[in-house]
């Protein structure tokens, strides 16, 4: 940062945590995480195009315990960014700017993302456990 003698903004610890503040931080964090996760999408498609052997290696890597934990994290990140992204698109349309609405929609996006993640993973584990 440019060095100035002007007063700087107080550190983040002094702020009270509001739902919409957490939503904003999580939206950015999940966005960056998902950008990293694009590597997995590209790898999967390249291996699928390349042939059986490479794809099986990719498959077992994703299905390994560490792979499953990462996929769990990325799936929640995807659902959170999706739910909160829809919230932002609605707000971009000019709606939902009352403070109670902002707090409620922040919580709704968080709860929605957890529900979607749980539903998807119940399906994944019941449909073959990491196959």
């Amino acid at each position: 940062m440019a060095s100035t003698s002007r007063p700087t903004s107080p550190n983040i610890q002094v702020y009270h945590w509001y739902a919409n503040m957490v939503a904003s931080i999580l939206h950015r964090a999940t966005g960056v995480a998902l950008a990293v996760g694009t590597v997995v999408v590209v790898c999967g498609l390249v291996k699928l195009a390349g042939g059986q052997q490479g794809f099986d290696e990719f498959h077992s890597l994703v299905g390994s315990p560490i792979g499953m934990v990462l996929m769990l994290g990325w799936s929640w990140a995807l659902f959170y960014h999706l739910c909160n992204g829809i919230r932002h698109l609605i707000q971009d349309g000019g709606a939902g700017y009352q403070i109670p609405q902002i707090v409620r929609s922040s919580w709704l996006a968080a709860i929605g993302s957890v529900v979607l993640t749980v539903v998807v993973w119940i399906y994944v584990l019941s449909a073959g456990g990491g196959a």
Binding site: M1, A2, V32, V46, L48, Q52, L82, A127
Partner: protein, 134 residues
């Protein structure tokens, strides 16, 4: 003449207002593309999750044949383009917010866009290979 008075008070060239590009020199273009790709990704992202879930227990041949279907290949390419475009735009904002040394900012921005294009081309090429080779 109220128009002339307004310009004198404003001290801005009317052309600047007419162009409406502001200090970014590109107006609201970045903002708009971020929203348009976001809207596309709402549908395409849900479609992608459903496709992956439908292939959970599938073997290699089944998975490949499914992606090779015309509609799936088309939607996959649309998903990939929207995803990498949206990701690059988003990372650009994060970098512009947190990297305050100009040359580092430019280097990281260029790197992000190089990687986004490379990733998008690699993935689209893979989908074309899957869709076009029997």
């Amino acid at each position: 003449m109220s128009g002339k008075d307004a310009v004198v008070r404003d001290r801005r060239n009317p052309l600047k207002i007419a162009r409406g590009l502001g200090s970014s020199h590109s107006g609201t273009h970045h903002w708009w593309v971020q929203r348009v790709t976001a809207a596309a990704l709402v549908g395409l992202g849900i479609w992608f999750v459903i496709l992956v879930l439908s292939l959970l227990g599938a073997d290699f041949e089944t998975a490949r044949a499914r992606v090779a279907q015309p509609w799936n290949a088309l939607l996959m390419i649309a998903f990939l383009v929207a995803m990498f475009w949206h990701a690059a735009l988003g990372l650009q904002v994060v970098i512009e917010d947190y990297v305050h040394t100009r040359w580092k900012e430019v280097v990281v921005l260029v790197a992000v866009y190089f990687l986004a294009f490379l990733g998008a081309f690699a993935a689209v090429l893979a989908v074309l290979r899957i869709a076009l080779t029997p």
